[in-house]
């Protein structure tokens, strides 16, 4: 089959950033340009939960996964910002990713 315009929409380009010390878990690299399938294997739109799983499986080099994910969810003390808004304003893990989204993971700081 020849490729159709749909194929372009079958993938999402995302800018993923880490800060506040989380970059340490991702090869000390703050910014990652990622391409994700627009749908998971069951045909559901890709969500933040899917992105977190993808980051753990394919992007994170460090084996200390518990510093990012606890019991299958993001660990407490990490803020997720979707296009500069708290993910709680956007539906948290259920938020459906859109092409070009900027997703920032920030660890909360306590020092002073």
């Amino acid at each position: 089959m020849a490729s159709t315009p749909d194929d372009a929409a079958a993938h999402l380009s995302l800018d993923v950033e880490f800060s506040g010390g989380l970059e340490m878990l991702f090869s000390d690299q703050r910014q990652h340009s990622l391409t994700l399938p627009a749908e998971d294997k069951d045909g559901n739109p890709s969500t933040i939960a899917f992105l977190i799983h993808h980051l753990c499986e394919n992007v994170m080099k460090d084996t200390r996964k518990e510093l990012f994910v606890l019991q299958d969810h993001l660990r407490p003390g990490i803020l997720v910002l979707i296009n500069d808004a708290d993910w709680e304003l956007e539906g948290e893990e259920e938020y459906e990713l859109k092409n070009g989204d900027n997703i920032l993971f920030v660890s909360t700081l306590h020092g002073g």
């Binding site: 800060s19 506040g20 010390g21 340490m24 090869s27 703050r30 910014q31 080099k61 460090d62 084996t63 200390r64 518990e66 510093l67 606890l70 660990r75 407490p76 003390g77 803020l79 910002l81 500069d84 808004a85 708290d86 709680e88 304003l89 920032l104 920030v106 660890s107 909360t108 700081l109 306590h110 020092g111 002073g112």
Partner: protein, 462 residues
């Protein structure tokens, strides 16, 4: 050493005394000027709302658009509490004192250390050893002797929080641990005080205004309902901090405080004020980022929040005082216990081994910055991250062990205090480097801290 300490303390005391005397002089001068004014009946009478000297001292901020006399009067009549007189508290207090906040309170139970001085700008070399609150007040009185200072030389606790915080209109959280951050937020909610919270670590900072207006804006628990796991909490003492990074955050706290006081937010009553709560933003500062400052939109109040829900289920003052255990809530970092006693050797034993000059390997798994500052002679630096990033099968072992070492040479692993060295030792064993026990791999108990204490006191320990 004792002599030096004693002299430092004496100088600090004399300086504090000098500041007191200068403040008394200012007061006496003011009083005598007042008496003269009283004598000068009629046209000599002082008829302006601020003291004469205030017009000069605060002129540059009062002429800024929308600040004006009313802004200065709001600031003059405000009582502001800073919890923490460290990297955030020092610059914040300096600007608030300079701006003429009527009463400035400081809470801190720590004493000044030399390692504070690169960022805690209100302290000084000759005040090392002095309580931070007293040192800061000494500095602040030099800056502005005309306002009132209250030094609370204690840590804030569930028991003393109500008594201290109730004396103020506005609170700045300048502390350095999640336990104090939850406590401060809870007491501010219960006493209806707006809270300006900032934090900093290494090259990053965060700032958010909470519980503003009281009862309407989100509290710290709304934004961070669960504390981070204790092993992910690293203090400035261990992770480091760049002075101007925490300084910027403290200065921004002072700015938010001045904005809030000039607007008069703290004067608006809790009940009946129907104005809509503005979108809450959190400022993220990343000194090394391409965009150093960005403001992100945050959620509002959390329905059913443990502290600020405002219904019968919410925390009460009495509960805070009698049954809240913030240390337990945030968790305590458990010491690492991965190795058996026979897998660990003492620093004295390693010192003996190193003198025998048998071929062996000493791996130091601290970060390269730590290693570059001080290390045990002959040790090789392989930072712990290289071990934790190692995925096992198929990956190259040469990342972790230099290739030119005989395969039976024993491996000793050292770190700062003896935690990461266990993780690295276990990793090498899991990778089969010990060849089922044929080759010794173990760590050095107590790390460089113990080495300094028992073997080489000259080693700088950071």
């Amino acid at each position: 050493m004792d002599k030096i300490e004693q002299l430092r303390r004496e100088i600090a005391e004399k300086e504090a005394e000098l500041v007191q005397l200068r403040a008394q002089l200012v007061d006496a001068e003011k009083l005598s000027a007042g008496i003269e004014n009283d004598k000068d009946e009629g046209e000599g009478e002082w008829k302006w709302p601020l003291a004469e000297s205030d017009y000069e001292r605060y002129s540059r901020q009062m002429i800024v658009p929308n600040f004006g006399l009313q802004g200065q009067l709001n600031i003059k009549h405000a009582k502001v509490l800073l919890v923490g007189a460290g990297g955030l508290g020092c610059p914040a207090a300096a600007y608030l004192a300079g701006a003429g906040v009527g009463t400035l309170g400081l809470v801190d139970g720590d004493a000044v250390e030399a390692s504070n001085l690169h960022r805690q700008v209100a302290h000084s070399t000759d005040r090392v050893g002095m309580m931070k609150v007293d040192s800061a007040v000494t500095y602040l009185k030099g800056l502005n002797p005309t306002i009132t200072y209250r030094a609370h030389a204690t840590h804030l606790t569930p028991q003393n929080a109500e008594e201290i915080v109730s004396q103020y209109d506005l609170v700045l959280d300048c502390t350095d641990h999640p336990t104090s951050r939850y406590l401060i937020s809870d007491i501010c909610v219960l006493l209806s005080k707006p809270l300006i919270s900032a934090s900093a670590f290494q090259t990053s900072g965060q700032l958010i205004v909470l519980n503003n207006p009281p009862g309407k804006g989100p509290c710290y628990r709304c934004v961070f309902p669960k504390p981070p796991p204790p092993e992910s909490v690293i203090g400035c003492g261990e992770g480091g901090i760049i002075g101007p990074v925490v300084g910027v955050m403290g200065v921004l706290q002072a700015l938010e405080a001045i904005k809030l006081l000039v607007r008069g937010d703290h004067l608006k009553s809790r009940a009946g004020d129907e104005e809509a709560v503005k979108q809450v933003g959190m400022l993220l500062f990343s000194a090394m980022g391409d965009v150093p400052f960005r403001t992100v939109r945050m959620r509002g109040k959390r329905k059913g929040c443990f502290a600020c829900a405002g219904d019968d289920s919410a925390l009460t003052l009495n509960e805070l005082k009698t049954s809240m255990d913030y240390i337990q809530f945030c968790g305590v970092n458990q010491p690492v216990k991965l190795l058996q006693p026979e897998e660990r050797i003492s620093v004295v034993e390693y010192e003996r081994i190193s003198r025998e000059s048998k071929t062996h390997l000493l791996l130091d798994v601290r970060e390269k910055e730590h290693f570059g500052l001080s290390n045990i002679r002959g040790s090789i630096n392989i930072p712990i991250g290289r071990f934790t990033a190692h995925r096992g099968e198929g990956s190259e072992l040469s990342d972790l062990i230099p290739g030119d070492v005989p395969p039976d040479a024993p491996i000793y692993i050292v770190c700062r205090v003896g935690n990461d060295s266990q993780i690295a030792t276990k990793k090498l064993k899991d990778l089969g480097v010990d060849r089922n026990g044929e080759r010794f791999i173990g760590d050095i108990l107590g790390g460089l801290k113990a080495w300094k204490a028992a073997v080489d006191p000259s080693l700088p320990f950071i």
